[in-house]
């Protein structure tokens, strides 16, 4: 960490090594307005410059993986909603698909398409929340209200679909929990119809705003090499220039049926990550538009029994959650309860890159960088 603080203030013609400030240790979090939950960051500062950092996590640890071992496959499904609680639908999709893979069950096409639509709406909702809070961290007070306005529309669709807004438990193993409600298509279409104008609205506030650009360009740079070495995934990886998206690499749900682009950044800085996520929202809208036009008819549930006893063995399945690769590694011993469920949380692993990104920046950038990684502590700590 910061055992050897460099205390050089290079003021010309002066030996200033003796003038160095005392190293200050500041705790940000667990109770801080902008650590997005109960993250605790210990910062070693020279003046306002960060010379070292340490993330201290676990304040929200609930032992989700342990709980899984004591629940049946179906019983555990609602628990995953509580990990990334702003993207519960994505969590559920990952878990259901992993178990389906373990059971070797085929999901009917109708369920696949509806899953895709809901998951993409969830991605938009998650990115909207990110945008609002990230902008708030950097001091723009207004975008969050616009974002929440649109997010509300999505949550209303979820609520109408399954009765819950956040921890939805929208899917079940083998297909869907519920048939879509009457007017689902219209609701989604109405939301999508003018959503790109709403994105333009956010962009009008931020994209070319000089202060926003100065606050984000060149901040928290993560090179592609570093990103890969640190296992970073999702928008953070793509902003570093790696064109990789599980929806394309290992298509799941119904993603192979739709056209969409993977936005990539070139500098790996906070601004690029912002642009990548903004473009992802547009692409999500594009996927939804294609999917909503043509929802196949048919059953919504594949051939799964009431009692699920996967053959012994193991499976790793991952999806592209809004925050990155969300993986489930499930080991079955042939009983109704999973022997081991390992969840690969994107936030946890992306957060590991925080120290690399933050060094040499100022205190103000710390919040920008926490925001740009887009962590949810429920998922980091599980």
């Amino acid at each position: 960490m910061a055992e050897t603080p460099t205390r050089h203030v290079h003021f010309p013609g002066m030996d200033t090594t003796v003038l160095g400030a005392d190293e200050i240790i500041i705790n940000m979090g667990p109770q801080h307005p902008s650590t997005h939950g109960v993250l605790r960051v210990k910062l070693h500062l020279d003046g306002e410059k960060v010379i070292g950092s340490e993330c201290i996590i676990g304040y929200l640890h609930r032992g989700v993986e342990k709980i899984a071992e004591h629940r049946s496959y179906q019983q555990f499904a609602p628990y995953v909603d509580r990990m990334d609680y702003v993207a519960a639908v994505s969590n559920g999709l990952g878990y259901c698909e992993a178990v389906e893979k373990l059971l070797e069950v085929e999901v009917p096409p109708r369920a696949k398409v509806v899953r895709t639509i809901l998951t993409e709406l969830q991605r938009i909702a998650s990115h909207l929340l990110w945008l609002g809070t990230h902008a708030l961290d950097i001091g723009a007070l207004t975008p969050i209200f616009y974002c929440f306005r649109e997010r509300e529309e999505i949550l209303k669709i979820f609520e109408k679909y399954c009765g819950a807004r956040l921890t939805t438990h929208a899917f079940r193993i083998g297909g869907l929990q519920y048939e879509v409600y009457d007017g689902f298509e219209e609701d989604v279409k109405r939301f999508l119809a003018d959503f790109d104008r709403k994105i333009d609205e956010y962009e009008a506030l931020l994209t070319t705003n000089r202060i926003w650009v100065e606050r984000t360009k060149g901040i928290g740079v993560l090179s592609a090499q570093d990103a890969i070495a640190l296992g970073v995934t999702g928008p953070v990886l793509r902003a570093s220039g790696v064109k990789w998206d599980i929806r394309k690499a290992f298509p799941y749900a119904a993603y192979d049926r739709y056209d969409f682009e993977i936005p990539v950044g070139s500098h790996g800085d906070t601004y690029d990550r912002y642009l990548v996520r903004m473009e992802e929202m547009r692409q999500s809208r594009r996927i939804c538009l294609q999917a909503i036009e043509d929802i196949p008819s048919g059953p919504i549930l594949g051939k799964v029994g009431k009692v699920m006893k996967p053959a012994p063995g193991e499976v790793y399945h991952s999806i592209e959650a809004p925050k990155g690769e969300l993986g489930y590694y499930i080991v079955s011993d042939g009983t109704t309860q999973p022997y081991r469920v390992r969840i690969r949380p994107p936030s946890f692993i992306n957060l590991q890159a925080f120290d690399t990104m933050v060094r040499g920046h100022l205190v103000a950038d710390v919040v920008a960088i926490i925001g740009t990684i887009d962590i949810v502590l429920g998922e980091v700590d599980r």
Partner: protein, 437 residues
């Protein structure tokens, strides 16, 4: 006793005015907060305070009561005396600056011959309150906030001073009243003669106020609450009062020097005399709206409050209408209408402060310092030279004033553009090698 009365006699009116300011200011600050919340709500597509009183009209009073009665916490390790006194310094300095502010030709506590200098000097004392408060709290966040605040205010003080000089060159006096009179004589507000100076004043003024986008000393997403972190209850409210009073002061200086103080728009054009009736009409419209909304309030108390507010507006309308009918020479006419216009212009300033706050992200500290030292100070230096040269060309060489000023402004803007180009070097991230799947 008699001698004291004798001694105070010539100062009776200013004294009355002083008492009014001290008594009303907290209320005014409270309502500015309400206004800010309403403006914020409007910009953010929501309603803002709506619960306490009709349209939240009683919210400031409820807030004030709450803050007065809140538990008063002084941290154990704090320097008690300094902790106690620091918010008082902040408030007192800000209020004191109002003492030379000409709210109207008659509403002024003292017309000093060095008025502007006095106001600038006194209002910059407020920083002591912030620094001492931050230091005495013995908290990292508070200290960081205080130091940021000190460095920031000190840096932008220079730019503010230089911007003021460009206006002073045109006015030729430091007396606040005479500055306004100079604009009346010349028949033009100085903002049109020294636009660059006005702009620099506006930006640097916001920075001096520690307001967004320069609100780093209390940047809530970084420093929790900056220098106010350890303050709660009424002490915290005092800092707030100080901050909002300082907003009035900065708006007041800007109004006096650049926006013609208490003068109405086009003060010398008889064709615009109907503007004198505008204040009364404005308040009449407000009255009408209040009365229109009164029956629609759900609760009797809310009806009463809104009705009373309507009556208040009506009385304002009556006074302003009465003043407008007085002969032009009457002191009351100039005073009352002048106060309206002055406050209206100050509100314009306040609105722009709010507008900026809800539109812009926050600067980072080094960017803030760079903006101040690398941009505003050199530009304002050149601006002073430009205005000075234009005046000499006007007075000695007989050029029309506007020609010289346009030249000066263009030169200043050219320098500004050059500076922007020079400093647009950004830390560029090494583009990582892109990888494809």
């Amino acid at each position: 006793m008699g001698t004291v009365v004798e001694f105070l006699k010539p100062h009776l009116l200013p004294l009355l005015w002083a008492v009014v300011i001290v008594a009303v200011l907290p209320l005014v600050a409270g309502y500015i907060v309400l206004l800010e919340r309403k403006v914020m709500a409007d910009i953010q597509a929501r309603l803002g305070p709506m619960r306490v009183g009709p349209h939240g009209l009683l919210q400031p009073i409820a807030d004030a009561l709450k803050l007065l009665l809140k538990e008063d916490i002084i941290p154990a390790n704090a320097d008690k005396w300094i902790f106690w006194i620091a918010p008082l310094i902040s408030v007192t300095a800000a209020m004191l600056a109002l003492s030379a502010m000409p709210f109207g030709p008659v509403f002024q506590i003292a017309d000093l011959n060095v008025g502007l200098l006095f106001i600038v000097a006194v209002s910059s004392l407020g920083i002591f309150g912030i620094v001492l408060g931050g230091w005495s709290s013995n908290s990292h966040y508070a200290l960081l906030g205080a130091l940021r605040s000190a460095a920031q205010v000190v840096s932008y003080e220079v730019a503010v001073g230089l911007a003021l000089v460009s206006g002073l060159l045109l006015a030729g006096t430091l007396s606040m009243r005479k500055i306004v009179e100079a604009q009346a004589e010349q028949g033009i507000w100085f903002v049109f003669l020294a636009p660059v100076g006005f702009f620099i004043y506006l930006v640097a003024g916001i920075a001096e106020l520690n307001r967004a986008p320069f609100d780093l000393p209390e940047a809530e997403s970084e420093l929790v609450a900056g220098y106010m972190t350890e303050y709660s209850g009424f002490r915290w409210a005092l800092y707030f009062l100080g901050e909002y009073t300082a907003m009035l002061v900065v708006g007041g200086i800007g109004t006096t020097l650049f926006l013609g103080g208490w003068l109405r728009p086009f003060p010398n054009v008889a064709a615009f005399d109907f503007l004198d009736y505008l204040p009364a009409v404005f308040f009449l419209a407000l009255t009408g709206y209040c009365f229109y909304r009164t029956p629609k309030q759900p609760v009797p108390i809310q009806k009463a409050v809104l009705g009373l507010f309507g009556l208040l507006c009506l009385s304002f309308a009556a006074v302003l209408g009465w003043a407008a009918t007085l002969p032009a020479e009457a002191a009351a006419r100039g005073g009352i209408l002048g106060a309206f216009w002055f406050l209206a212009k100050v509100l314009l300033f306040l609105y722009s402060f709010m507008w900026f706050r809800f539109t812009f992200p926050r600067y980072r500290f080094d960017q803030l310092m760079r903006l101040g030292w690398h941009f505003l100070i050199p530009v304002s230096l050149v601006n002073v030279m430009g205005v000075g040269a234009a005046l000499v060309l006007h007075r000695q060489a007989g050029w029309p004033l506007w020609q010289g000023l346009v030249l000066g402004t263009v030169a200043t803007l050219a320098v500004a553009a050059w500076l922007v180009l020079v400093r647009s070097r950004r830390p560029v991230a090494a583009p990582p090698a892109g990888e494809e799947v």
